[in-house]
Symmetry: C2
Subunit: 192 residues, 2 copies
């Protein structure tokens, strides 16, 4: 099928990048709670109107950044080498996914928090559908007895931005990584 029906004008594309980069920089510098669209616009060298014209809303801006950051992981899961990609046993793929996703969240905590705060109902977001589907299908394979669909959401809620941020701030990032890894492992490892 065709790609995008219409190209983006060159200045528009340039501004889109500038806005995304500025957002990321400001989030890292001031934290999710202290970044407004006006600030972003100023830092990107455009006006507030441009940001809204491009991304629709604050939620849209954050969503765009999240999608961008998750793109590589998505590709790796869908067509990359095992254990992340197809080929490895489901349990290993599941663990690899959670490990990698955890790093993604750690590297973009403020973004994740800003995204959550700006988004009304995160669980209906299209982005999440892919992850839920991926996890659920692996879980269904590992433990056909379980309610894989819901369990996927429950396990993913573990990668909560606030939880991760707290452990980063208290220097317990690796402890948290271990705990989540262990939890997923205890689900992926059949007890009976």
């Amino acid at each position: 099928m065709g790609n995008e029906p219409k190209r983006e004008r060159r200045d528009a594309a340039r501004n889109r990048r500038a806005i995304l980069d500025a957002t990321d920089a400001l989030l890292a510098e001031f934290g999710a709670d202290n970044v407004s669209i006006e600030q972003v616009a100023a830092a990107a060298g455009v006006s507030k109107g441009t940001v809204f014209h491009r991304f629709g809303s604050k939620a849209g801006l954050m969503r765009a950044l999240v999608v961008e950051r998750a793109h590589a992981l998505r590709d790796a899961v869908v067509g990359g080498p095992p254990p992340l990609g197809p080929g490895a046993p489901a349990a290993e793929r599941l663990l690899a996914y959670f490990d990698e996703m955890f790093r993604l969240v750690v590297d973009n905590v403020e973004l994740m928090i800003a995204y959550d705060k700006a988004t009304d109902d995160p669980h209906t977001e299209a982005i999440h559908a892919f992850w839920y589907g991926h996890i659920a299908s692996l879980l269904a394979e590992i433990r056909p007895d379980s309610d894989a669909e819901v369990l996927a959401r429950v396990l993913l809620s573990t990668l909560n931005g606030d939880l991760v941020l707290h452990h980063i701030r208290t220097g317990q990032t690796e402890r948290l990584a271990g705990a989540i890894h262990g939890l997923v492992e205890s689900v992926a490892t059949r007890p009976d």
Copy 2:
């Protein structure tokens, strides 16, 4: 030790109740995202200044409501009959706690979401310390090999307001209850 050093004036106490009740009603009617302090004040028949004088901030108001709602469960855990209270095996107490806490969240979803949104760093809140401590001590008893402190936080993040609300809205409350119960069970049941 003494109780509160000074009593609250009668009108103040009456207004406190009116504000708390109004908040609860508005949350139930309009949802966490559509309730402002001004609305609360109007519904309670007081002015905005009074609300802030009494509760300090929006976060303080939500915190007060959460504390109130959690009070009964706290008492039951600390001195009530088993399996919630002391006396039952740790694994049973843990499961009973999660079941009960889940109901608490379900019955107060909008409040939980409003509380989360208004609170800057939930993980440093005094309220949570008690729950984390309770869960961690049970976990430490059940699985001395695990990192009980962090695992407690991870498991509790599962009772996330957004996750619960989504399942309520889609009529999957019991499925979610089952999934969380199963997850806690698989941790509380030693696999080795």
